[in-house]
Every structure is written in C-alpha cells, then in structure tokens.
C-alpha cells in the first residue's frame, strides 16, 4: 500500500499535467479576438473581419507598437 503523501503527490502531479496540457492546447488553438465589456456585465465579441472589429484591431496594433517589445526581449 502506498503511503498517503505519495497518493497526494501523484494527484497534484496529475492536476498539473492536465493544466499544462490545457495551456498548450490554448496556445495553439486560440485565435485573435476583440471583446468589449459594458455596464451590467454584458460583453460582446467583434470578429476581425467586421467593421468594428477591424477598427479595434488597428487601434490595438498601434498601442502594441507604442509599447514596444518587452524589456529584456531579444530582437
């Protein structure tokens, strides 16, 4: 019979593996999006090819340009 702490460690490792796999899939599958939140908790997504979405992505691109690369990043 396994010691109790071994069982606990295995359980924690399993959860960590699950989380890592989820994050890996998210990185691969996630697409650009523009999400707006309004008073009362309502939110709306705007596709990149819609008029509003295109304007939002252009404005966001400018801000990303102003911010520049992260400090310490190469290239």
């Amino acid at each position: 019979m396994q010691k109790p702490h071994r069982i606990l460690l295995e359980r924690v490792s399993a959860y960590a593996d699950e989380a890592a796999a989820f994050m890996r899939r998210r990185r691969v599958a996630r697409r650009p999006f523009a999400r707006l939140y309004y008073a009362g908790g309502r939110s709306a997504d705007h596709a990149q090819d819609s008029t509003a979405g295109a304007e939002l992505f252009v404005a966001a691109g400018r801000l990303i340009e102003v911010a520049g690369p992260k400090k310490g990043a190469r290239g």
Binding site: P32, A34, L36, L56, G61, L63, I64
Partner: protein
C-alpha cells in the same frame, strides 16, 4: 440630557463629514506624480506587462511608460472611440488579443487605463489590478 447632547453632536459631525466628502465625478484628477507611482506599482505587479498609461477625465495622459506619452494618449483615445462606436454605448473594459500581444483598457471613476501585455497574460488578474489602481487614484490613495 447627556444623550440629547451626544445626538446633537453626532448630527453635526455627520453632516460635516458628508459635506466634506467629494463626489466621485466631481473629484479633481489625480496628480501626475501619484499616477506615475500607481503605474510603477502596476508594472512591478504584472510581469507580462509591456507598457501602460493612465488617462485623466479629459483623456489627458497622467502617466505612461516609455518615451512617447503623447502617442499613448492619441492611440488610447482612438481605441476607446472605436470601442464606443462598436455598439453606440460606452464600454467599461476592452480586451483585444492579437498575435503580437494583448491590449487591455478600462474606465473607472472618470479615469482610464490602457495596458499592453505579452500574449496569454492573465486577463482577469490584470483587469483587477488596473481597476484597483484607478480606484485608489480616484480616492487619492497613491
């Protein structure tokens, strides 16, 4: 007799306290120094942050990272204008994720903050920090 006096005094103090309490909308914009301190704290708290700016009630830049505060003001105004125009209603928060990075904007108590992060930053945590920053700036706690 004593009770009556205490009640009268309490009434005077209460009225005085409320008359001195500034209305959130009428409060003056925080100073640049306090906004810079708040932004420095946010930068320290958020490892994924690339840059950010705090805007005053009129859209003026109170503090910004980097060397182009004017551009932060112009581009943040453009983003908020585009967001407001999307559904003809004022937005409270904006989150745009692109291949190059993520952009967040939030309005709170007449102030606004804009931030650019690496991809896959923790959105809820960053927005919480930004809102806390604006709330404290609004209260003059920085």
């Amino acid at each position: 007799m004593t009770t009556v006096m205490i009640q009268e005094a309490r009434g005077r103090v209460t009225v005085g306290s409320f008359s001195q309490m500034p209305d959130a909308a009428a409060a003056a914009a925080p100073s640049s120094e306090s906004a810079e301190a708040a932004l420095a704290f946010l930068t320290e708290m958020s490892p994924d942050l690339r840059g950010a700016a705090v805007l005053g009630p009129e859209g003026e830049v109170l503090a910004a990272t980097g060397e182009e505060p004017e551009r932060w003001g112009e581009d943040a105004a453009a983003l908020l204008a585009a967001a407001d125009a999307a559904e003809e209603a004022p937005v409270e928060q904006v989150h745009i994720a692109t291949e190059q990075g993520e952009v967040f904007a939030i309005r709170h108590e007449g102030l606004a903050a804009v931030a650019v992060t690496e991809r896959f930053a923790l959105a809820s945590l960053l927005l919480f920090d930004m809102r806390s920053m604006l709330r404290q700036l609004g209260k003059g706690q920085h």
